[in-house]
Amino acid sequence: MISLDALLSRDVRAGARLLRWIDDGNAEARGLLKQLYPHTGKGTIIGITGNPGAGKSTLTDQLIHRYRKQGKSVAVVAVDPSSPFSGGALLGDRIRMQEHAVDDDVFIRSFATRGHLGGLTNTTTDVVHALDAMGWQIILIETVGVGQDEVEVQRLAHTTVVTMAPGLGDEIQAIKAGILEIADIFAVNKSDREGADRTVSELQMMLDIGYVSPAEQAHHGGSILLRDQRQERVCPQGWVPHIVKTIATTGDGVDELMTALAEHTQAFQNACQDESFGRARQRQEFLDVFRRALFERGWSYLMHEDHLNQILDQLLDGSADPYTLAEEAVKTLYRL
C-alpha cells in the first residue's frame, strides 16, 4: 500500500514505488493517480530531446545544477531504449548526473521504452502527473536519442529543448520536419566544435522560412499553431524558437539556455490565460489517457475467455480475414 499522504509529502520510497506501479501497469496505480490529479499543475515541465550523443544527459545535469542554485527541487525522467529482442534495457543516463545522487531535492528515475515508439514510454504522462502532484518544482524529461519523428515530448512538456551537435550542415534542410519542428529552444551543443556556427545559421534560415510571424498569425486570427489533428503542436502565440550555443561539459552557454527557458516559461504561462490554449493542451492530454484506456479495454477483452486465440484459430484456418475480425471484436466490445 502507498499512502496519499506519503506521496504528497514527497516521500521518496512511496514515490519511487508508485512510479514502478505506473510503469508496470499495476491496477492500483490508477486509483492513486485519480487522487493525485487535483494536486497537479504546479510544476514546470521541460523536455530535453535530440539525437543520440548530442549531449542530452550532460545538458540535463547542467540544468539540475542551475535549478538547484535557484533553490528549486528537480525531478528527472530519463528514458532509454528497451532491447527489441530481449525486452531488457541498459539504462545509463544517471552516469552523467552523479553529483546529485545524494541531494534530497533531486530525484532521478530511469525508464525503458518497453517497445513504445515516440521518444517516451507509454506511461510518461502519468509519471509526470505523479511527480508534479508530489510537489517537484522542475520536471525534466530526457527522451531517448531520437531521429526525426519521435515528437511526443512536446505534447507533455511546457517547453521543449531540442539538443543538436554541430556537423549536420545541409542535412538540416532535409530533416526540417519532425523533431526540428517541435523545438521551443534549440541548444546547439558541443559548440566548440567545428561547424557550430554553420549549424546555428542553418537553423536560423530554417526558422526564417518556416515560421509564421506573430503579425501574420494575428491577421489569421489564430492564437495557437495547429498542425494535423494527431500531432498538433500547441505553443504560445508569437514564440519564435530561440537558438542557444552550449558546451554542456563545461557549462558554457547554459546561463543563456536558462534565460531562454525562463522566457519561454513566461510566454507559456501567459498563453495559459487564454482559454483556447488551455483547452488545446487539455485535449492533447486527455486524448493520450483516452487512447490508453481504449487499448486496455480492448486488450482485456482479447485476453478474456480466450477471445484472442479464437480469432487466431479463424485466421489460421483461413475462415476469416483480420479486418472483419477486428471490426467484430470492436463491435462486441462496445456492447459489453
Binding site: 530481449s86 541498459l90 552523479q98 532521478i108 487499448f295 486496455e296
Partner: protein, 134 residues
C-alpha cells in the same frame, strides 16, 4: 491495465578502482536476459548507491569491487538500505573476493557473491530464482 512486470537491477561500482569491464559485462548480460539494468558508472559511494537504488525502485543491487574494499563497502550498502527501510532490496556482489571473505559477507546480508570465472548464466539463474519483481 496491461501489467508488465520487469526485474530491475542496479549495477554499481563502489570505491576507487576503475576496472569496470566486469560490471559492464554483467549489466549487458542481464539486459539480454530481459531485465532492466540501471548502470551508474564508476566511483560510487555506498550512500549514492543506496539513494539511486531507492529512487529507481530496483529489486536488487549488484556491486563489483576489485580494490579489496568489499568487506567494508558491501555491508555499508546493506546497512544503508536498512536505515532507509529498504531492506527488501537484495544485494549481491562480485569481483576479486577471496573465498575466505564470503561467509562473513553473507552473514552481513550480501545474498550472493560471484567470483572471477563465474559464467554470466549463473548470475542470471540466481537472480531469476531469488528475485521477483515488486
Amino acid at each position: 491495465m496491461t501489467e508488465q512486470r520487469k526485474i530491475r537491477v542496479l549495477i554499481a561500482k563502489p570505491g576507487l578502482d576503475g576496472h569496470d569491464r566486469g560490471a559492464k559485462i554483467v549489466a549487458r548480460s542481464l539486459r539480454d536476459a530481459g531485465m532492466e539494468v540501471i548502470y551508474t558508472g564508476l566511483h560510487q559511494t555506498p550512500e549514492m548507491i543506496v539513494s539511486a537504488a531507492i529512487q529507481e525502485d530496483v529489486d536488487a543491487i549488484g556491486m563489483s569491487i576489485m580494490s579489496g574494499a568489499h568487506n567494508v563497502l558491501m555491508p555499508v550498502v546493506v546497512e544503508g538500505l536498512a536505515e532507509k527501510n529498504a531492506q527488501d532490496i537484495a544485494v549481491f556482489g562480485g569481483g576479486i573476493i577471496p573465498e575466505d571473505d564470503i561467509p562473513d559477507l553473507k552473514e552481513k546480508g550480501i545474498k550472493a557473491v560471484f567470483t572471477p570465472g563465474t559464467p554470466t548464466a549463473d548470475i542470471i539463474t540466481w537472480i531469476k530464482e531469488n528475485i521477483s519483481p515488486k
